[in-house]
Symmetry: D2
Subunit: 252 residues, 4 copies
Amino acid sequence: MIKEGDTVQLKDRKNSFFVRLKKGEVFGTHKGNIYHDHIIGKQYGETVKTHKGNEFIILKPTLYELIMFGIKRQTQIIYPKDSAYITLKLGITDGMKVLESGIGSGALSIVMANAVKPSGKIYAYEKEEKHLKVAKENLELAGLDRYVSLFHHDLSEKLPEDYFDAAFIDVREPWLYLANVNSSLKRGSPVGFLLPTTNQVSRILESLSSHGFIQMEVKEILLRNYKPVPDRLRPEDRMVAHTGYLIFARKG
Amino acid sequence: MIKEGDTVQLKDRKNSFFVRLKKGEVFGTHKGNIYHDHIIGKQYGETVKTHKGNEFIILKPTLYELIMFGIKRQTQIIYPKDSAYITLKLGITDGMKVLESGIGSGALSIVMANAVKPSGKIYAYEKEEKHLKVAKENLELAGLDRYVSLFHHDLSEKLPEDYFDAAFIDVREPWLYLANVNSSLKRGSPVGFLLPTTNQVSRILESLSSHGFIQMEVKEILLRNYKPVPDRLRPEDRMVAHTGYLIFARKG
Amino acid sequence: MIKEGDTVQLKDRKNSFFVRLKKGEVFGTHKGNIYHDHIIGKQYGETVKTHKGNEFIILKPTLYELIMFGIKRQTQIIYPKDSAYITLKLGITDGMKVLESGIGSGALSIVMANAVKPSGKIYAYEKEEKHLKVAKENLELAGLDRYVSLFHHDLSEKLPEDYFDAAFIDVREPWLYLANVNSSLKRGSPVGFLLPTTNQVSRILESLSSHGFIQMEVKEILLRNYKPVPDRLRPEDRMVAHTGYLIFARKG
Amino acid sequence: MIKEGDTVQLKDRKNSFFVRLKKGEVFGTHKGNIYHDHIIGKQYGETVKTHKGNEFIILKPTLYELIMFGIKRQTQIIYPKDSAYITLKLGITDGMKVLESGIGSGALSIVMANAVKPSGKIYAYEKEEKHLKVAKENLELAGLDRYVSLFHHDLSEKLPEDYFDAAFIDVREPWLYLANVNSSLKRGSPVGFLLPTTNQVSRILESLSSHGFIQMEVKEILLRNYKPVPDRLRPEDRMVAHTGYLIFARKG
């Protein structure tokens, strides 16, 4: 049964809206208003009508859909092809304390927060206040804000020592903060980076070596979509060719 | 603190072993025996000595490492590049009831079991008894067996109706079982398939249409590794070119 | 020294024009008129002025540039990544008689015509008159029209027997014409196809088998461009993900 | 009709040999000896018997087959996916004077020599004598040696000025020779490089800029093979993931 605080996907033939439910509130669409109270108490798969009588089906959004279609994007986001892999590669799971910085629009934070719940936490450092605000809204929409502690700061702030079980760093010059990140990690903990240029990859690899990190790996993930037509099956004409290189290591 | 039931990674310069700890047991290596009791109570990052005095470091393995290096492989496994994406795309999360069949060596089951814990469950159907046995051992190694119900059966067995929140089907002829899978899913639930040939992709797309599924998508994920040498950065010479096509849909 | 009949590239900072030179003619640009006679007799690398005094540098265009930037495109063209490979794979070289159909805008015809010159010939069958007209203009621009015989016909027209040294077929249903193509090829001759969908690939493979062709191969070629910035080297954000599958075989 | 000096492919069910024909010579196989004189005068597609009575079919090899299966490989070769593209991108055609260095086993030299014939020439600089020897044999096998002038020298030797129409450089540190290459090229001429690491790519881009080259481009080409089975069509399991980055520019 759908309850207050849930985020639902409202879908008609052309549109798809993602709404977090709160008693008494109204969601306005160009097809009319939808009262949250008309949704609360229903089952997923049922429909709701606007005050103009137009019908929307109520679906339970996957995190994937929330990230791809629901969240506000103020920055380039980390896409599911990368965020799913990062989260598995870093071994993010229930109970872990995970350092993340910067967080941009929070697309990776959502995936990692879902992985550490119920007893873990993401410690998210972001120096841009406007990103922090958007990330907070997006985490609320995903219903995962309680698993993320947001800090309006970059990584030059002294981090707690021997504290984190894993870290993911997505900033332009991660080598500037590597000593701080290193001392904040427990021994053996995995760390990841996303960097768009080969020059940055070379530089972080050097820096990782000089700080005693081990097991360095560099990867890229390519996702290719096909037109799902059974008798004319073929890849789509164009694809995303690059989001970033993924670099992984462990504290030595 | 490391406790009984945990799976640890024992690592020296050349070897890496994955061991689930049980009081009183002994793990034999070519460098001597290691007593589980010598590990229980230590911290990750500490070392343990064999009876011959050789030292191993005790690390907490990530699920990624367990899947890539720890589990027994009796079949082609679903690799992390795919299993991480599948799990996010299907929206697998705490509390969900997920249908999986076949399960092979259980590599995907491990990732999905980790995602549904603590209150959800994977319902894993596998017709080959020898696979089932290996999958069970692998799930135990990962400490996730309690989140998976194993059934020695293929999908021709009548499934409970309107029951599952998601499904992933990795069998040669999934269209044979699609009516059964369809009726077992709750309305709007996501379903995924892995199929190696384009002919199978065409066939399942047709079958999905005729059973009223919606939002069909076909994808493939390519992972490219680089040699992590800062001043000679380059992709590795060879890569895995194909594991399988991923097909996703929702019950309409 | 540049002479009548040559195709030159006229380039300023923003524009690039491809012009086949003819005595007495004038080429109009938004920066003023350029007299062909002012170009004839010059060397590549020199400049020419419009009647308004604006300067253009005169370059010798490569076939690559002509195909990518110079020719009229009335159809999806076969790109250099594919046309170069096709031409080498089919062993197209001086003196060969090559069957091609359809030819679209002639982008592949240009590459193959350049390869068979001076003593070979492309026999180009195209059923669409408007394509034929554009292809002819494009071949003239490339200065290669004399090496191509154009036929306004599809492959249902009876072809000469035991005649061609190679063939490339780019039509929607090539299996309809395979008996005709087969009998027109000399024994052992290579043949190629470009087909966008996997269903077509399966169908032509079946048809090739049943007509006794040997050495079937299926390939696809992906081209990834990088931003050529030395200190921020990275792939471009997006790429062409699919032009078509290339299928090769030999007459058995 | 097959004549002396032609290179033929001799093929039975299991083997494929590439032989350049010379009157009076004998080619030994494990199935018996084949007299060149028994081949000369025949047509392609006919068969020849060994002295033990075993039959081979006589085929005209494509350059592609010669490169992939016929030539001796003493070095990593430039594969057809790259050599075909390089040749088209550089605009190599009849009559051009082309600089190449190093040439390794001559796989690219063969493709470019075929493109400049009959009136052009490849000027091939190679510092390793053993490579030069193998490249010479390979060019002879391809029947293209007359279009290539081989120089036992690296690019530190002063090149003729304002002389070449195009250049392709495949050496470890091409920036060392760029001033020399630059002055040897005619204005506007295209130049290409193959480099395996991103660091080398960055370095040559910098060097190209500082020497006044224009229109820099960086590309990589991926070739994916499929299993040609009509009812089980799928990519092969593994592929070559990297041969090298291709860098192109023009003399400014």
